[in-house]
Amino acid sequence: MISGVLVIFFVLAALAVLGAVSLILQSHPIHSALSLILVMVSLAGLYLLMGAEFIAAVQIIVYGGAVMVLFIFVIMLLNAGVEERTNFSKLATFAGIPLALALGGIIAAAIARSSGHLPAPAADGAMSSTRELSKLLFSEFVYPFELTSFLILVAILGAIVLAQREN
């Protein structure tokens, strides 16, 4: 049975895949970055479909907004031009395609095997899901969460040190 949700899912999934393919095929860095934004926004739509409204909004704010704006900003600042095509390396043709197919097959097999025992998404309202998320984050996963923020702090310090070294 084809429901409206399923149609929206396939549209968003197709957009995400198209964006990902276009990301590789585009010859201009800005166009590639724009394709990546399309992937991010379609993924946000998919999260929304699963009832994870908070994650969807954060996906757009952080990945679609902040991260990709920085990408585009840097590309614009460097004024990077169209990339030049070289002759395709033989390694890519002979080893790349089979390896890519193998990787896709492994991922598909893993998904097919595990899809039977995936937990169903929570059926209740999204605000409670935001609340549940924060409760989990600050109780059960508080140490990984704090460790991650520490990791980000280290990365920021590293960036400052690298930027300062030139002076």
Partner: protein, 409 residues
């Protein structure tokens, strides 16, 4: 009728609401440009638009026709995709951001109860921020795609500015979120209802039950960051004429330029609405609920305004004005009288009346600032954003959460 509404209402009502909202907002945008030119002209002791129609009231229409009829040349060497996509993206995102704003309390028409706004999402604030986050691309792409140094510099400046001020914008709201405990703009407004009228709003913070705390720091931070986010004076560096011609839209003409223009004014309306909702109680009346006489304020404003327009119109210099202005005045007076006499309509109009009155005041403040303040220098802008606004908004978050924690004990 009501049976059809009950059955297909979920489909018909949003379409009707979208159509009305787009019409109202686009008209509002047009007359906002008129108001802006008039107010700034009067600040500078000039008349402003005065030729097209009485008091220049048909100027927006003339501008619109001009935009449509202008030639739309495309400069050579542009990146076509980015060049065409950018204005559409800007306008689309600006209009979309209005979809989650509640303009008033729930209304019931023909037995069908619906929210006063297009979508009642329970993460509406996050949705708004998500749309704002994407808004940078319109300007950045326009600047980059135009194949013009000035455009590129304007686009770069604007991206940098928006990234910097988005942080302060988001953080200044956290205090309100801590008090409300909810992302829904509707619930944020409902939390500000109290017995004392405007004292219960987040800017004062005497919320019913005592859960609030004054958000005046957050309010000031939000307003400054919002001006920077909408690229308005004194933060309009992306389009600083003396340095960058017209910034990111230098190479745009005709309708594509108009789209940036409408997008800018629409996001001004969206930001003013958000400001009203977060800090000034949204659609709530500033008077205590027991003062029922204040419900006649719309009539008290509309009737004298209408009468004044009639008398001004009779003495107007052109024949056209002598016909149109008294007509407009008569409609306003009649509307005021209708509201006075028909109390169900008067009650229904209270929420939207206060909402639009507050938004109008904020928009007037925007224009007033443009007529008053000089432009920032670029390094001043960055220093102000990162070294002052961001720390202050973080301090507000810490202070508010400390007060809330202390109250809970």
């Amino acid at each position: 009728m009501s049976e059809i509404l009950a059955k297909y209402g979920f489909l018909i009502v949003p379409i009707v609401k979208v159509a009305i909202l787009v019409f109202v907002v686009l008209t509002l945008d047009a007359y906002l440009t008129w108001l802006e030119r008039k107010v700034i002209a009067h600040i500078q002791a000039r008349w402003g638009p005065h030729r097209v129609g009485p008091h220049g009231l048909l100027q927006p229409l003339a501008d619109g026709i001009k935009f449509i009829l202008k030639e739309d040349p495309m400069p050579s060497g542009v990146d076509k995709k980015a060049y065409f996509f950018a204005p559409f993206l800007t306008l689309m995102l600006a209009l979309t951001s209005l979809a989650v704003i509640p303009f008033g309390p729930d209304i019931t028409i023909l037995g069908y109860t619906t929210n006063f706004g297009i979508a009642d999402v329970n993460i509406s604030l996050l949705v708004l921020f998500a749309i704002t986050a994407l808004g940078v691309y319109g300007i950045a792409l326009a600047g980059w795609g135009s194949n013009n140094k000035y455009s590129l510099l304007g686009g770069l400046r604007s991206s940098a500015q928006m990234i910097s001020y988005e942080l302060a914008l988001t953080l200044s709201v956290v205090g309100v979120l801590l008090i409300a405990g909810d992302f829904s703009l509707k619930h944020i407004v409902e939390k500000q209802a109290g017995d004392f009228g405007l004292l219960s709003w987040n800017i004062v913070g005497l919320t019913k039950g005592g859960g609030g705390f004054t958000q005046i720091i957050g309010c000031v931070c939000f307003f400054i960051a919002a001006i920077a986010e909408t690229n308005r004076v004194p933060f309009d560096l992306p389009e600083a004429e003396s340095e960058l011609v017209a910034g990111f839209h230098t190479e745009y003409a005709s309708m594509k330029f108009a789209m940036f223009f409408i997008g800018e004014y629409t996001s001004m309306i969206a930001v003013s609405s958000l400001f009203t909702i977060l800090f000034f109680g949204g659609w709530l009346s500033p008077f205590p609920a027991s003062w029922t006489l204040t419900h006649y304020l719309p009539s008290i404003i509309l009737v004298p305004l209408g009468l004044w327009v009639i008398f001004d119109g009779i003495r107007y210099e052109t024949i056209f004005g002598r016909i149109v202005l008294p007509g407009v005045g008569f409609v306003l007076t009649a509307l005021g009288a209708l509201l006075f006499l028909w109390s169900p309509l008067n009650e229904a109009i209270q929420g939207p009346f206060w909402f639009f009155a507050k938004v109008g005041a904020v928009l007037f403040f925007y224009i007033w600032m443009r007529g008053t303040l000089p432009r920032f220098r670029y390094d001043q802008l960055m220093d102000f954003g990162w070294k002052f606004l961001l720390p202050v908004s973080i301090a507000n978050v810490v202070l508010t959460s400390a007060v809330i924690m202390w109250r809970m004990k």
